[in-house]
Amino acid sequence: MDIDMLLYRGALLAYLLSTLTYIFSLLIRRVSPARAATWMLTGAFGLHTLFFIVQWLGKGYNPFLRIHDILSCFAWVMAGVYLTFQLRTKTRVLGAFVSPVVFVLMIVSSIGIGGSMTVPEVLKGGLVTIHAMLSVVGEALFAVASVAGFVYLIQDGLIKSKKSNKFIKLFPSLQDLDRINHFCLLWGVPLLTLGVVAGSIWARTVWGSHWQWDPKQIWTLTAWLIYAVLLHQRLAIGWKGHKTAMLSVAAFVLLLATLLVEKSFFTTIHRFY
């Protein structure tokens, strides 16, 4: 087996271990296993990073062209963003919610990873990579914002219930979770904006027009709109805490649902393999 695939499997295994350890931490309601899980997640992230580097240097692969690679990139960005927050704030147990998502993404991506690599004509161009990279990072940030929002809602409910509960102690503080939401929206919206712009410029070059009323395009624009509005409300009107957390989660669920509907019932020209 090639070294890059070895790294990939190692990362996959480490993501699994970290997920299981995080779940164990939740089950026994103690933070100490989560500490170990954070290290495992860091290890997994490291292996995953090496995988990209080796692929890039060794085989000249571009991880932003094929759907499996893009999923793996998505997972990688989510893990990276979470770990960065972990360094800055005490949000350790948030990992118990990020790590499983990352692992599932990796499993889905692993089905087709490492296959043959023939790039269709339509994707040959620097703008495509930029378009995919910015969109992936932007959407991964939204995913982290939503996970943080989900945990926020749980913690908010626990504190409002006015009962003693070991989970209150375990979960991060509301303010830290809200800060993550804020940061992810603040960076996610402009990145996705640039990604969409890059994509539409490229679409003009290869398809002749910026906009094709393609289901995938509509989906992306909807996502962009929802999060842009959310960010606007946050910054201008001061929506904070409970409301933004709820809307972040709702937006993400809605987008996942429409993505599934789109995938099953519509054909899109935005699919290349």
């Binding site: 102690k169 509301l174 303010q175 805490g241 409970h242």
Partner: protein, 426 residues
Amino acid sequence: MNLILIGMNHKTAPVEIRERLSIACNEGFNPLDEIKAIPGVGEALYLSTCNRVEILARTQEHTDAEEGLKSMIYRHGNLGEEDMARCLYVYRDSAAIRHLFRVAASLDSLIMGEPQILGQVKEAYRLAVDHQAAGVILNKLLHRAFRVAKRVRTETGIASHAVSVSYAAVELAKKIFGNLKGKKVLLIGAGEMSELAARHLIKHGGDQIFVTNRTHERAIQMAADFQGVPVDFDHIGDSLREVDIVISSTGATGYILTYDMVAAVLKRRKNRLLFLIDIAVPRDIDPRAGDIDNVYLYNMDNLQDIADDNMQIRRGEAEKGELIVAAETDRYIEWFNTLTVVPTIVSLKEKATGIIHAELERANGWLRNLREEDREGVEILANAIVNKILHDPMTCLKEESQEGSALAYVAAIRRLFRLDGSRDSE
């Protein structure tokens, strides 16, 4: 083992009796010197806190040390023997070890898991060392006790849940705001409980305190206490915009903060999280205010319930602590049992090497005729034979000491090998 622990605590003795003893010990005399002077007492530790007075001593066998200790306590307790005896508990050997471990680990405390007791035990031990009242046995015992306390603290959740109202409030504040650094606190009205909670908040990073009261002079006075800022009572709404945590405890009969006030304030503060603590009875803050998004309202009963629940959690955790104490007690006894065996083995080895040296010395006459390598060979052989012979009895001795029945074997070996010199040879 001859360990004895005599004492009284909050469960067995009313405070009047406990304080008699500890006052007498603090002022009139030095308890350690007096305890050491009791015939038969080898080592001693004296521990006195608000909730307990304990004397731990290692005594010599077949002495009246226990009676001596008791009569000393009766004398200083200045109370009838019967009354005193009812308050006292006496633990011996393993029970005494277990009790000491439980005390150090705060399993025996009035507020289970409170951290001060370990410091007090350490201080008591330091005094015992200063007064040369601690020897091999107590040194080891106390160091073990410190370790037990640390284990119980880190391996169980006994100390990790707030069991007082004001600490429960601080913990909640931390779970809302993460870090209390830079958070502003508004105190409405005066009161012991609210001031205590405010002090805890400041201790954990709370930044600025605003104080308001119906009588402005009182607010100024309190603000001076906290190095805070007095606020006009009629302009509470303005300071509500600034602060993060509000502690209210006025004697007012109606609501000081109504639902509409809080809802309006929240808009003006751009929905920044607000933690309201209402410890007034009757309540100062409309309970419906807690339904507003990003507002967290706790009243006295809520906080008390949490503190009670946490106490329940601590009790559950204490059971794990008891297991640790039991295991560590066994370990200490194990160590104690080898202690008597170890010197026996050492003197057995000394005797054997003594014999080898003496015999080699005696055989020097003909050994001289051998080549140097052969002489060394003979020495090695002699050592090997003796070691082989002693190996099994020594292993057996070590094993028996684990079972706790080593004393008989130790006695036998000492007698068979005449390890105690001429005294036994009579």
